[in-house]
C-alpha cells in the first residue's frame, strides 16, 4: 500500500516536470500554430546552464533558486531570439517546413551544447536544504520531489493569473483564438509572438534547470522530453493549458505504474495511450474542434506531369547506373548502393507527402521494420537472403496497415504526431526488447547469400529491386490511384462528393509507402550487414523528409535527386567534420528558408524564368 503511494507520488513529480515543459509547448503552439521541435532543446540547454550556475552559486538556497530562475530567463531570451531569427519567417509556411526548420535547430543546439559542455554526462549538486527524504508510511521519499509536486499546480495557477488577469495574457488568449482579428485591433503580433516564445522557452528552461538535482544532465535529454511533451500536448488538446496539466498527471501515473507492470515497454504504453485518446477524442481531452491545427494548405497547384521524354531519361539513367560497376571501385559501389536504397525510401515518403499531402514524421518506422524484419528472419530462423528480403516489405506493410488505420483518421499536424508516435512505439520495442532485437547492440551478421555477396552483384540486385519498386510507385502516381489521392488532398469535400473514399485511399497509400520503405530497409540491412535501433529513430525519419524536401515536393523525380544530394553530402562532407549535426541542422534551416521548392523545383523554376 505504502509502496503504491510512493509510486504515485513519484509519478506526480514526473508529471510536474512534464507539465512545465509541455505547458510552454502548448502556449507557443496555441498562438503561433507552430509545433516547436526545438522545445526540448531549451529544456536541455536550460539543464546545462542551470548545472553551471548551480555549481558556482548553488551552495545556498538563495543561490540555488536564483540559478534556476536565471537559467529559465536565459532560455526565454534564446527562445525570443529564435522567434525573431527563424519562426517569424515560417508562420505562413506549410507545417512540414515548420517542423523541419525547428528540427534543424535541434541538431544545431545538440552540437553547440556538446561543444560548450563536452560529451560527458554531468551530475549536479543537490538542492541546499532539500537533500534529505521524508518517510511516507515508512517509505522514504525525496524531499526535493515533494517540492516539485507542489510546483506544478503553482505554475498552473500563476499562468492562469497571467492569462486571465493581465492585459498581455488577454491579448495572448485573443491571438490564440483569432490571429488576424488581433492584428486588426492594433496589436503588434510580432512583439506578442516574441513574448510568447520567451515565456514558452523559459518554462522549458525552468523544467530543465529543476532536473539538475534529480538526474544526470545529458545530451539525450532534448529528444526524450520533446517527444513526451508532444504526447502530453496532443493528449491534453493542442493549445489547452489545463489539458496539458491533466495529461501530464495521467502520463506521469502511467509511467510510474507502467514500469511496475511492463518494465520492458513503458514507452509503448504512453504512445498507445495517445493513439487511443486521439481515436476516441480526436481533439484531445480538453481540446476544442475549432482550435484544431489547420490542415496542410493546398500549396501545390501545379499539375503533375511526366515531362516529354521521362521514360527515355529514366531508361538512360538506369543504363548508366547498371554500367557503373564496370568503372567504379568498391567504395563508390557501396555509396551507390546506399543512394539507390535511399532513393526508394525517399520516393515512398514522397507518395504520402507529394500526392496525399500527408506529412509523415515517422516514416523511418517502415524502413526500420523492413530492416529488422530481414535481420530477425536471418538471425532467429536462419532464413536465406531471398526469403528474408521478401519478408521485409511484408512486415513493414503489415505494420503500416495497422498504424495507417489510426493515422489517416486525422490530418495535418495530428497526422504528423500520430506517425511520430507509431515510429516511437516501433523504435522503443527494438530498443527495449533486448532478448529478441538485441536492444542497443542491434543485430549483426546479416550478410547476403553467396551469389550476391560481391559488391557489384549486390549493387545490381539493389538496383533491380529498387528500380522495379520505383517504377511501380511512379505508375501508381499517374494511375487513377495517384489521382484519387491528389483529389483528396486538393479538396476532400469535392472528392467525397464525387464518390471518392478519401480515407481509404490515404490508408492504401500509407500501406503502399510502408511496403516500399520496408523493401528499402531490407536491402539496407543486407548492404550494411547489421541493423540498429537508429534505423527506426526520429533522425532517420527526418533524413527522409530532408531528401524529399531537397528534391522538391512537387515533382516525382525530386526524391531521387534529393536522395543523391543528401547522401553524397552526408558521406563526403559530413564525414569530414565532427560537427555533422551542426552542418545538417544549418542545411535544413537554409533549405526551409531559401529553397522551399527543393532542387528540382528550383531548377525548373529557373528554367521557366529564363
Amino acid at each position: 500500500m505504502s509502496f503504491l503511494l510512493v509510486q504515485a507520488l513519484s509519478g506526480l513529480a514526473t508529471a510536474a516536470t512534464l507539465f512545465l515543459v509541455s505547458s510552454g509547448l502548448t502556449i507557443v503552439f496555441g498562438v503561433t500554430r507552430i509545433v516547436n521541435f526545438a522545445h526540448g532543446s531549451f529544456y536541455m540547454v536550460g539543464a546545462y546552464a542551470g548545472w553551471s550556475l548551480i555549481e558556482r552559486f548553488g551552495g545556498t538556497p538563495a543561490g540555488f533558486w536564483g540559478s534556476v530562475a536565471a537559467a529559465a530567463l536565459m532560455m526565454g531570451v534564446l527562445g525570443a531570439a529564435m522567434e525573431i531569427g527563424l519562426l517569424r519567417r515560417l508562420y505562413r509556411s506549410p507545417e512540414l517546413f515548420q517542423l523541419l526548420g525547428t528540427f534543424g535547430v535541434v541538431l544545431v543546439v545538440q552540437d553547440l551544447t556538446a561543444w560548450a559542455w563536452g560529451p560527458e554526462d554531468l551530475l549536479g549538486r543537490r538542492a541546499p536544504g532539500l537533500k534529505g527524504s521524508v518517510d511516507i508510511l515508512d517509505q522514504p521519499f525525496p524531499l526535493y520531489d515533494l517540492v516539485l509536486i507542489g510546483l506544478g499546480p503553482l505554475v498552473l495557477g500563476l499562468l492562469w493569473l497571467l492569462f486571465n488577469r493581465t492585459r498581455w495574457g488577454t491579448l495572448v488568449r485573443a491571438a490564440t483564438q483569432d490571429r488576424e482579428m488581433t492584428s486588426a485591433l492594433g496589436v503588434d503580433p510580432a512583439r506578442l509572438f516574441t513574448g510568447v516564445l520567451f515565456l514558452g522557452c523559459a518554462l522549458a528552461g525552468l523544467g530543465g534547470a529543476l532536473q539538475v538535482p534529480r538526474e544526470a544532465v545529458t545530451l539525450h535529454m532534448d529528444m526524450a522530453i520533446v517527444v513526451e511533451a508532444f504526447v502530453v500536448v496532443v493528449v491534453g488538446g493542442m493549445g489547452s493549458l489545463t489539458g496539458a496539466f491533466l495529461a501530464s498527471l495521467l502520463i506521469g501515473q502511467l509511467q510510474a505504474f507502467g514500469i511496475l507492470v511492463f518494465p520492458q515497454i513503458t514507452l509503448v504504453i504512453v504512445f498507445l495511450f495517445m493513439a487511443v485518446v486521439l481515436v476516441l477524442r480526436p481533439h484531445g481531452l480538453l481540446g476544442r474542434a475549432d482550435e484544431a491545427p489547420p490542415t496542410a494548405p493546398a500549396a501545390v497547384t501545379v499539375p503533375l506531369s511526366a515531362g516529354p521524354h521521362a521514360g527515355a531519361w529514366a531508361l538512360a539513367l538506369l543504363a548508366v547506373l547498371a554500367a557503373a560497376p564496370l568503372v567504379a571501385g568498391d567504395y563508390a559501389l557501396i555509396l551507390l548502393t546506399e543512394v539507390v536504397i535511399l532513393a526508394l525510401f525517399a520516393a515512398s515518403l514522397h507518395l504520402l507527402i507529394g500526392l496525399g499531402g500527408l506529412v509523415s514524421f515517422g516514416h523511418a518506422a517502415w524502413f526500420g521494420l523492413g530492416a529488422y524484419g530481414s535481420a530477425l528472419l536471418v538471425k532467429h530462423l536462419g532464413a536465406p537472403m531471398p526469403l528474408a528480403l521478401a519478408g521485409a516489405p511484408l512486415l513493414a506493410g503489415l505494420g503500416a496497415l495497422v498504424a495507417g488505420w489510426f493515422c489517416v483518421r486525422r490530418s495535418g499536424l495530428y497526422f504528423a504526431m500520430l506517425t511520430l508516435a507509431f515510429a516511437q512505439i516501433v523504435w522503443s520495442i527494438a530498443f527495449q526488447w533486448y532478448a529478441v532485437t538485441g536492444g542497443d547492440n542491434g543485430i549483426l551478421g546479416v550478410w547476403p547469400s553467396a551469389w550476391a555477396a560481391g559488391k557489384a552483384a549486390y549493387y545490381w540486385l539493389t538496383l533491380g529491386l529498387s528500380g522495379g519498386a520505383l517504377w511501380l510507385l511512379r505508375r501508381a502516381a499517374f494511375a487513377p490511384f495517384g489521382y484519387a489521392l491528389r483529389a483528396g488532398r486538393d479538396s476532400g469535400l469535392r472528392a467525397e462528393s464525387v464518390g471518392i473514399d478519401v480515407r481509404r485511399f490515404q490508408w492504401m497509400a500509407f500501406v503502399l509507402a510502408g511496403t516500399a520503405a520496408g523493401l528499402a530497409g531490407g536491402l539496407y540491412a543486407f548492404a550494411k550487414g547489421s541493423v540498429f535501433p537508429t534505423l527506426l529513430a526520429v533522425p532517420q525519419s527526418v533524413d527522409a523528409l530532408v531528401m524529399v524536401l531537397m528534391g522538391g515536393i512537387q515533382t516525382v523525380a525530386g526524391p531521387l535527386a534529393g536522395a543523391v544530394a543528401f547522401h553524397l553530402l552526408e558521406a563526403k562532407v559530413m564525414s569530414m567534420t565532427d560537427w555533422w549535426r551542426l552542418a545538417l541542422g544549418l542545411i535544413i534551416v537554409a533549405l526551409v528558408l531559401v529553397f522551399p521548392k527543393g532542387i528540382v523545383g528550383f531548377l525548373s523554376g529557373f528554367r521557366r524564368r529564363r
Binding site: 499539375p303 499517374f478 487513377p480 489521382y483 483529389a487 472528392a495 462528393s497
Partner: protein, 247 residues
C-alpha cells in the same frame, strides 16, 4: 422518373436553428429555386441533402430510399450530384482530368495502379466540357481558371456522374450577367433534355424568375412561400422579407 421527397428537415447549431422543418418534393423535369436572404439556411439545407451534415430530425427519400445517415459519396452514387457555393475542384489537375476523375469514380476504376489516368475517359470528358462551353480550356490547370469558368467545370463534373437529381449551390455566383443567363439557359435545357431534377439557390433574381419552374422561399430556416415564380413574386410575405417592410 425520379423523386426526391424532403420531409420536416431540422438542424440546429448550438441552440440556433439553421433549418427548422423544411419539406418539399423535387421531381424529374423540375427546376426548383431555393431563395432567401443571407443566413436563411440555404447552404445548410444543401449540406443536409447531400449528406455532408446530418439532420437532427426529418427524412430525405430518393425514390422511396432513405438518404439520411448515408455519407456524401453514397448519396452521390445513388444519383444525387452537387456543385458548391465556394468552388471546390482539384486544383492540381487539368480541367479535363477533373472531369475524368468523376468518370473514373463512376466506373469504379479509381483503384487502378497501372494504366495512366490521363488517358482514360478523355473523350467523354471532352464532350462534357464542350457541352458547358469549356472545351477550349480542357488542358489548362484548374487552379488558374477564372471563377466563372470553375463554376462551369463544376457543372461538367456534376453531369459526368449522370445524376438524376442535381443540387446547385449558387451556380452563377461570380459570373458576368451574360454568362449567368447562358448557364441558366443551359441548365434549363439539361432539365428538359435529360429529365433532370434540379434544386438551385441563387441571389440573382433574374436567373430565378427567368428559369425556375417553381420557387421555394426560405427565411430563418423556415419555408415561408412556395409556388410558381409569379405567385412567389406577388406574395406579400416574400416582399417583406426581401424589402424589409411589414407584412
Amino acid at each position: 422518373m425520379s423523386e426526391l421527397v424532403v420531409r420536416d428537415l431540422q438542424r440546429s447549431f448550438g441552440g440556433v436553428q439553421a433549418v427548422g422543418g423544411v419539406s418539399f418534393t423535387l421531381r424529374s423535369g423540375n427546376l426548383l429555386a431555393l431563395i432567401g436572404p443571407n443566413g436563411a439556411g440555404k447552404s445548410t439545407c444543401f449540406n443536409l441533402l447531400n449528406g455532408q451534415l446530418r439532420p437532427d430530425s426529418g427524412s430525405v427519400k430518393l425514390d422511396g430510399m432513405e438518404l439520411v445517415g448515408l455519407p456524401p459519396r453514397r448519396i452521390w452514387a445513388l444519383g444525387v450530384g452537387r456543385t458548391f457555393q465556394i468552388t471546390a475542384t482539384f486544383a492540381s489537375m487539368t480541367v479535363a482530368e477533373n472531369v475524368q476523375m468523376v468518370l473514373l469514380s463512376r466506373a469504379r476504376r479509381l483503384f487502378g495502379l497501372w494504366r495512366p489516368a490521363a488517358a482514360q475517359f478523355r473523350e467523354p470528358a471532352l464532350a462534357l466540357l464542350e457541352r458547358v462551353g469549356m472545351g477550349s480550356q480542357a488542358d489548362r490547370p484548374c487552379g488558374v481558371l477564372a471563377y466563372g469558368d470553375v463554376k462551369r467545370v463544376e457543372l461538367a463534373m456534376a453531369l459526368a456522374s449522370e445524376p438524376t437529381v442535381l443540387l446547385m449551390d449558387e451556380p452563377t455566383a461570380g459570373m458576368a450577367p451574360a454568362e449567368r443567363l447562358a448557364l441558366m439557359a443551359l441548365t434549363a435545357e439539361l432539365v428538359r433534355e435529360r429529365g433532370l431534377a434540379v434544386l438551385f439557390t441563387e441571389h440573382d433574381m433574374d436567373a430565378v424568375f427567368g428559369h425556375a419552374t417553381r420557387v421555394l422561399v426560405l427565411d430563418r430556416g423556415r419555408l415561408i412561400a412556395e409556388g410558381s415564380p409569379d405567385q412567389v413574386r406577388a406574395n406579400p410575405r416574400v416582399q417583406s422579407v426581401y424589402l424589409g417592410g411589414e407584412a
